[in-house]
Each structure stands twice: as C-alpha cells, then as structure tokens.
Chain length 380, copies 2
DNA sequence: CGATGCCTTGAATCCCTTG
DNA sequence: CCAAGGGATTCAAGGCATC
C-alpha cells in the first residue's frame, strides 16, 4: 500500500544543483508515505537525500509484566512492530533497510540511527558491514529516565545514536560552529543530556494516553538537524512515528520525507507537522565564520524551547532589542553574536553580562534570562 | 611461552564451596600469566572464575594495530589489509577469546568488556551471538576528554562498557545497595562520569612517558568490582596491561588472574600491584544488602511480645487497619493471611511488602514494623 | 497568586527460596 | 520440574488539586 499525504506547502529555498546532480526524478518532499519502510524506500531514487534519521524497532524482548514498588503497572512497549522471531530475523530486517538507506543516500550524506543496548550492537555492526563509516557514537543521557524498579541492574539511563558517512572519504556536513555556539562556546561532546519527551510535547491519542510508545524529544532532532544538515536539505525518516523528524525539519527549514506503516501514526504526524511553523529568516541565521564567535551558554535554553529561536530580547528599560537565532546567538540591526557581545556593543561598554542584561517578555512582564538559566539548571 | 609470576601472598577469606563445585584444579591466583591471551585462557579450567574484565584492542583503523584470527599482531606497515579483511580478522579474534571467556566463566559469573565505537559494536554483536545476555551497557563519560582538534566531529568524550551474564536466567551478583550508597542514595545509573587516568595514578615508563597508551582509571574498576563481585571472588583480566584490574582487586580483597603478552607490561604491573595494599576490614564494610539478611518471620515478633496478639496494625496513612492474630497472621473485615497477602489484598495490588506497609502505634507515633524487625535482628 | 503536596508516568530484556 | 509465596524494589517531571 502506498498513500502519499501532502502535509505542507512548498517551503524553503531551492538550492542550485551542480550539473552532475541534476535529478531526473521528483522527490515526494514534505510528505508521509504510508506503507512498509523497505517497500517505500525501494521506490525512492538513488542518491537523492542528504540525511537519513532512523528510529527502528528496538526488539526489546520483554518478559512478563513489571510492577512498580507502589503497585502500579509499567506501560511497556509491547507492540507487534517491535517483535522479531530471533536475532537473525532482526539482522535480516536491519540489513535490508540499511541497504535501501545506503542506496537512497547521497554520497556525501550521513545517516543517524538511534537504539538501545537491545539492538544498537546489531545495528552498529551491520552498518560497518555495509561499509558505512562511523563518525561518532552519541549518548543521549536521559535527565529523567525510568528507574530500575527491582534493584537488579543499573538504571538504564541512556540511549545510543550512531552517526555515519557512506565511506571514509565522504565530505559530510558538520556545522561545527553552530554546535560550539549551542554549547557555551565549548566543543559539543558525544554525550548529550536531554529530558525524555513528556508534558505538552508528548502527542496524545484519542484516549488521552500517549499516541506512540516511543516518541523522541524534539530537542534531540533539533541538535541533529542543526549539526548535520543545511537549510533546504532533504531528510528521510523511514520510521516516522509521530513525525518528530518532520516537525523539527519544518521548523528548521529543512525538507523531509516520512515513511510510516500505521495509519493512526500517519494521521497524528500530519496534524502535528501542519501545526508547526518554520522559523523566520533572522532566526535561521547560524554562525558562519569565526568573527561572529557567539559565547553563549544560552544555546541550551534555545534548544529546549525555553527561549524559542526568533524570540525578542530586551534590556530592563526596553531601550534595545535583539532577536534570538537558531544557534543561540543574538542579532539586532547593527550587531550579532553572543548575548554578552551584543549587549556590550549596544551599550558601548567594554563588556556586559548578557545573562543579567537581557530579558524576555513573559505574560506581560519582563523576565531576566538569568532566571531562566537558573530554572533550567534546577531542572537538570 | 608461559611464565607464572606470583605477585601477592594469599589474601581474602576462603569461601565454602558447595559439593558439586569442589574443584579438582588449582587456579593461578593473584598472578600474571605471560603469553598470548587465547593460549593462556585455554589452559584455565572451565567454570572457574566469577568475573572477567576485558579491555581488548580497539582496532582503531588508524593504520595501527590489526589482529589476525589467532591474535597475532599484524605488521603495521602491511598495507594489503582492506577494510573487510580487517573487520573480519577482528571479528575472528574476538569470537575466539570470547569463546574461551565463556568456557572459563562460572555459570553465574559476568563479563565486562570496554571499547570505543571502533570495536564495541563488533564486540556487542558477537557477545550476543555467543549467547551472552546483556545486562547493561555502561557509558563512561570522560570528565576530561581529548578535544577534536580539527573540528570535524563531536568530541569523542566517552567509552562504552558491556556487562553480560552467561544467559538470561543466570543469577548474577549485583550489589545494589552498595551502588546506591556510592551514588548519594540514588540508584546508580548507566552513565558514569569519571576522569581519565592521569597524574600520579598514571604509571610511567623508563623514559618518563606513559607506560601504557590506554591505562584505565582505578575508579572505573573500583566501581565494577564493588558492584558485581564479592570479597574473595576471582576476577580474570585477559588483557592485563599495567594491571589496573589486579591493583583494584587486591585493594578490594578480590582474587585476580592477569594475562599479558608484553614482558614490559608484566613487569610494570607486578611492581604496581605489589605496592598496593588491601583495604582493612573496617574499610571493606559495605552497606548490607537486605536480601542477604536472615529472614525473620513476623510471628517471631508476636512470639517475643514485640507486637502482642490483638494489636492493631495500620498503613502509613491510616487508610486500612488489621489486627494481629496469635499465629502472626493478620485479619481485617474482608481478608486474612500473612502481612504481605493482606496488604496486597487491601490495596488491590499484585504484591506488597508487609514489612514496609504496616505500622504500629507507639507513643502516639506510627512505627513501621520493619523497624521492629531490624531491632529484633540487632538483638534488642 | 504562589507554594505545597499528591498522583501519574517514561523504549524495561527487573526475584528467589521453599516445598 | 513446577507452584506458591515471602518480601524486595523508584527518579524526575508534569499536571492538578488544595491551601
């Protein structure tokens, strides 16, 4: 079965293509293809997408029911789509979709795969077998994981992501400066502390419960897409689920293609993405060269949505304003850079503590961004 | 070549062995076996060690070390190895030493393997292929990693450890309470923040430089041995290097066996371990695991008059009450039976720990009956 | 309106001894 | 071998009601 659901209007700028790359096909951009991931991938043309983000079944192999100490039952991920007859069956499935992924990916494109210890060693090994070249393994350290209720193991508090190029020589995209800016002017490390997806971000089903058992946080996709794609790049997600990849891609003005088998998830994802708005141009500017050197601890607040890209900051007396860009740097008419640098430049001062200088308007009142930082710190 | 170097005197208490386990062999305890790891492991008896810690070659693919199936080192200037051959050779080598490890390990023993993204996906996959059962993957988050100098990737700031039992049903050792105590009374998580090995701990060679390129921090082994072995247990390290495993094992009063092929490392490790002192008895005390405490029947407290027959028990919020019968069972309007069964029935829960659920009123305050049990155990 | 406290929940390979 | 039953076991967030 193949059903193409157009979700968004055309957006993003068209990028000039080199002669050799001129495609003879048209990609189903910004759409969800409903159907089996391998079948649908097989219909897509070779070397056509810039990035693949894949959140495949983990093959959890859970036993019986698990109860919490106070008696509650753990709502396990026991869906049929996560069940495989054997490790060999899981390997066959993985080999197959990885082969299609490799075919579809541009030569300088990269692939991200997320998993847990149940499956990630299979996936990593098969990625290497398929001649993918691992660039990093990334650890998502969950700020608020589920505890181990029986006291039998260490709290399983992380998941692993693999980031690979098609081969050792590939010239992949890595927005080093944007990542450094997002991390308080320190190199972004291979371990990322992020909360799990909950609260308002978690998509609810008709029954009020979670629409999907394994929805990923937008902050995770935000960092991945900001790090490894450019605006207008095409991102394919063959295990689309509730469409986190599509929502973040649209927000960051990337193009996306989703593949999803379950009709219910397709519906949920379509509605979700349709209600997501792309960032405007000024927010989309990322640090391009050394001179802008933003010094921001601030990026984490941007990433987590506490201060959304595009938000306007002002000083306590509303004499100046500046807008927040996607990588946590600020821009106003004459200046751009870190919260500290722009604050200093506007005041004509040699230096400025941006944390106490800048404020955001919240519910009609000005809130100093240092308060938000404290809130964030307290939350971690 | 096989050279046995006795390093330490006998230490640790002898553990009583069940009849069936009575060994007909003698292990080379607290010694370094000099030679190839697979050859030396092949000499050790089956099901004889409680834990294996392995820090195998990482197969960095930097034009550096490659290993033949038999474990021999490939001459670094041999350029004929293509990627497939090197991965396959690494897999063969890994399969071989894992097979020996599995043979030597007791049925309830566990194995730890550390690696980086270069090799850990091969190792993890082959562990599963060899029917090992992954209990956790642990992320060692380096507090002070080497930066990525070229700005082409995320800072590679962690290594991964795999902790496995021999099969799904194995009853492995996990000192839950000790780990919780080590982590400020919170469950120990799967991500460990530890500094890399440097400073005075780093063993120096004759030239003043580091004696070994990949010496692991003692804190890492300390946590592993404290978590997953008991005093007197035997730990095998087939890639002994500078002997961190031996040094920490001796400190924590565990027995150890090291295998190392390089004479220089054997010498360094011997001297290092000889100068390491075991902790004294008082320092060796760890938080007692409740599971290992002797059982006390609730009836015993009734018998001794600590909780008189006819006394009324209630939960912490006084939502339910029940009365104590002469035989130590409870009764309320609708249910009767053990403290556990009645507690479970009243709550509609699948199970209940009556010891922590029920309270007695003493001097106007509620006292949990588990406290009375502890008092009884203490002989008060 | 803010502070407090209770309830719910999240990709989970989640017990062990005795009869 | 299985069945029964004792009794060991939870962290951080968000939502919501209450004070």
């Amino acid at each position: 079965m193949n059903m193409i659901l157009p979700v968004t209007e055309e957006l993003g700028r068209s990028r000039p293509l080199a002669k050799r790359e001129a495609p003879t096909w048209t990609l189903p951009l910004d759409q969800i293809l409903m159907g089996d991931c391998i079948t649908e991938m097989a219909r897509l043309p070779a070397k056509s997408v810039d990035m693949i983000f894949a959140d495949p079944p983990y093959n959890l192999q859970l036993g019986g029911e698990l109860f919490r100490p106070e008696g509650g039952r753990v709502d396990a991920c026991d869906d049929d789509w996560d069940k495989f007859d054997s490790l060999a069956a899981y390997d066959d499935f993985t080999r197959e979709w990885l082969a299609e992924a490799r075919r579809i990916l541009k030569d300088n494109g990269t692939i991200w795969v997320i998993g847990s210890y149940h499956n990630i060693y299979r996936v990593g090994s098969l990625l290497q077998d398929a001649d993918f070249w691992i660039l990093n393994d990334i650890v998502w350290r969950k700020a608020n994981p589920m505890p181990n209720f029986r006291g039998t193991r260490f709290t399983n508090a992380h998941e692993t992501l693999l980031w690979c190029a098609k081969d050792e020589k590939a010239r992949y995209t890595f927005n080093y400066r944007a990542m450094k800016a997002l991390n308080d002017d320190l190199q972004m490390r291979s371990d990322w502390v992020l909360p799990i997806c909950s609260g308002g971000e978690r998509v609810k089903g008709n029954d009020g419960g979670k629409a999907h058992p394994t929805q990923k946080p937008e902050a995770l996709l935000y960092r991945i897409l900001l790090a490894c794609t450019k605006p207008g790049d095409v991102v394919l997600d063959p295990f689309f689920g509730t469409g986190t990849t599509g929502a973040v891609a649209r927000r960051l003005q990337r193009r996306w293609i989703g593949i999803e088998r379950e009709r219910a998830y397709v519906k949920v994802a379509s509605e979700r993405i349709a209600s997501t708005l792309p960032l405007d141009e000024s927010a989309m500017q990322t640090v391009a060269d050394k001179r802008s050197q933003p010094r921001v601890a601030f990026g984490l607040l941007v990433e987590s949505g506490m201060v959304p890209p595009g938000a306007t900051l002002t000083d306590s007396k509303r004499r100046w304003t500046a807008s927040v860009r996607a990588d946590g740097s600020l821009a106003c008419a004459e200046h751009s850079g870190s919260i500290h640098k722009v604050g200093a430049a506007l005041q004509g001062a040699p230096s400025c503590n941006g944390w106490t200088f800048w404020h955001v308007e919240q519910d009609g009142a000005l809130v100093v961004i240092d308060a938000l930082r404290q809130k964030h710190l307290a939350g971690l």
